[in-house]
């Protein structure tokens, strides 16, 4: 792989990373929002490295004359190139050759531009498993809920209250949950779902709450579901076997929130 293609791959890669971080907010589909500065920095470094390489290649034929004026960098590459002929095939320098595996760096670029991967949705959350129980919190971690209006909360908090709150603070209280729709194999329910991500989409876990008494919108529709928690009928089923249930009074379609993950 010659220097020109190396530089061009770096430019493509850096450009793609800056495309999803600076020019759009697509990066929230893949990583935590707080990761943005690091991504921008990394993308910029890669891009600059590629552009510097390109500029060097561009100037190559003239460098031998203007060498000293260009500073050390160009003197070095200029003299080697003058000796080696064109395109750096026999460069005489260890780092000028990179094995062809570097071509694979084009794949994420193609994926970013052509597939434009959306946030994880119903396909990733399709299995019927219940969400994993959240870490146990002390009983006073859950503040009492307002009685007169619906409280909006994250799915993780709802699941935590449903399973880990000995004072049953959810009982009889209206709550609003936000998530996307995932169908269930059971007839009487569907799931309002949110993926929980701790670092990147590869570690995302589906948080699901079963919605009863409501028509199912199409898969992957973003909805706000208002309703009350349905306490399990028996204590026999351990937490983490079936998703907690919500009897819905209202389902409103909403646009996808800025941060698709919880």
């Amino acid at each position: 792989m010659n220097r020109m293609s190396q530089s061009l791959i770096l430019v493509l890669l850096g450009g793609a990373v800056l495309r999803v971080t600076v020019l759009s907010t697509t990066y929230v589909n893949y990583v935590k929002p707080g990761f943005r500065p690091f991504l921008i920095a990394a993308g910029a470094v890669v891009l600059v490295l590629g552009v510097v390489g390109l500029v060097q290649e561009w100037r190559k034929p003239h460098v031998t004359e203007t060498g000293p004026a260009q500073g050390d960098e160009d003197t070095e590459s200029g003299s080697t190139h003058a000796a080696a002929g064109d395109h750096g095939h026999h460069h005489g320098h260890d780092h000028s050759r990179v094995s062809r595996v570097a071509w694979l760096l084009c794949l994420p670029v193609f994926a970013i531009f052509l597939i434009a991967p959306p946030p994880l949705g119903a396909f990733a959350a399709r299995s019927e498993e219940a969400p994993p129980p959240p870490p146990a919190l002390p009983a006073d971690a859950y503040v009492p809920l307002a009685a007169d209006r619906a409280t909006s909360m994250e799915l993780g908090e709802f699941i935590g209250r449903a399973w880990g709150d000995s004072r049953h603070s959810l009982a009889g209280k209206k709550v609003t949950l936000t998530g996307f729709v995932v169908r269930s194999s059971k007839k009487d329910r569907w799931y309002v779902t949110r993926m929980q991500m701790s670092c990147c989409a590869a570690d995302a876990i589906a948080l699901k709450v079963a919605v009863l008494d409501a028509e199912r919108p199409p898969d992957d529709t973003w909805v706000e579901v208002t309703g009350t928690w349905v306490a399990p009928k028996t204590d026999k089923i351990p937490n983490g076997t079936v998703a907690p249930e919500l009897a819905a009074t209202e389902v409103a379609e909403i646009p996808q929130p800025f941060e698709p993950y919880e």
């Binding site: 893949y30 990394a42 991967p117 949705g121 990147c200």
Partner: protein
């Protein structure tokens, strides 16, 4: 360096069958200009077609792994290039104990100061070796740094709020495995197995060496990172996690299975504690194995190591690390958890 070029050619993954070689040097700029135009047009033409949910989910996970690893890789490559270009070799002979058996634990403990995940540690370890650090000591550093650095320790403590011993166990077990592997490599390893990346003395200024080392490492390690990302994303989408729950209760098997899962999922070491905490059906020892093995052996690391140090290295190093990781986790889990 002709022998270096030969070595490079023998470790190329994938082989020529990928067929992208047709892009010949003189037409390269035009080909790339065409590619850029196609990418921009393809967004309008192809994107509406490529809508299969399985493909999209796969692509999301794949891009997420690559995007998430890139800053760490760039950081590691920067550090590695800085080590090769600006730190004189004499520094390492002074900083590390002369006796290799003592240097291994010192280098392993030094892993605690590099805040990064495993993608950063491979280029740094290769830079250390190129600067004359004993390979076994550099390997101990390679294994310990992604698992015992402060960021990972804090993440583990947050993921296991009720189990502070999990943090202690992870720290001790990871350091122990790193040192053990280093010693075993020192005792039984042969120099022919490991391709120490040669860094010729800089021909120009150290800035030229810095830039060239960075470009080379970034492209090389980046390519192998993509190989690992491809495999991990595929397994992530294809293997349903429900398969796991059936073995959760079996004592030793569950530990091995979670160790294997850590290898397959290739989750960044800064996030794996959260995933481990979500595997509630498993025993603490099995979760510990997940946390110990994950940062040391996983698909993207295997690809990176095979690419950086050669295949004959990876074939021996990876199973050794995995085995010691499992055994140490069981031992530490017995004592502490």
């Amino acid at each position: 360096m002709p022998d270096r070029a030969v070595a490079d050619r023998t470790v190329e993954i994938p082989p020529d069958a990928w067929g992208r070689r047709s892009a010949v040097a003189p037409v390269m700029p035009w080909v790339f200009a065409l590619v850029v135009v196609l990418l921009l047009l393809g967004r309008f033409v192809l994107t509406p077609v490529l809508r299969a949910p399985a493909l999209q989910t796969w692509a999301t996970v794949f891009v997420a792994i690559c995007v998430q690893a890139l800053p760490f890789l760039v950081f590691g490559v920067l550090l590695s290039a800085a080590i090769t270009a600006f730190v004189p070799p004499s520094f390492w002979t002074r900083a590390l104990p002369r006796h290799p058996y003592v240097a291994v634990p010192v280098a392993g403990a030094a892993g605690a100061v590099l805040p990064g995940c495993e993608c950063a540690s491979v280029p740094v370890a290769s830079g250390l070796m190129a600067r004359g650090v004993t390979p076994a000591a550099a390997l101990a550093f390679l294994l310990s740094s992604p698992a015992i650095n402060p960021v990972v320790v804090v993440a583990t403590a947050v993921a296991f709020p009720q189990q502070p011993l999990m943090v202690v166990s992870r720290f001790c077990a990871s350091l122990a495995v790193a040192v053990l592997v280093g010693w075993v490599w020192l005792r039984f390893g042969r120099s022919g197995w490991l391709r120490v990346p040669s860094r010729p003395p800089a021909s120009g200024s150290s800035w030229v060496a810095f830039r060239d080392a960075m470009r080379h490492d970034l492209l090389h390690a980046g390519g192998f990172l993509v190989v690992g990302g491809l495999t991990a994303a595929t397994l992530n989408v294809v293997v349903p996690r429900t398969w796991l729950s059936s073995v959760a209760g079996v004592p030793v098997l569950s530990v091995v299975v979670l160790g294997l899962l850590a290898v397959l999922l290739s989750i960044c070491s800064e996030a794996d504690a959260f995933v481990a905490a979500s595997l509630t059906a498993f025993s603490p020892t099995a979760k510990l194995a997940f946390l110990v093995v994950g940062p040391m052996v996983d698909l993207k690391l295997i690809a990176l190591q095979a690419g950086t140090f050669g295949r004959s290295f990876a074939i021996r190093f990876v199973p050794l690390t995995f085995l010691l990781g499992i055994v140490t986790s069981i031992a530490v889990g017995e004592v502490l958890l």
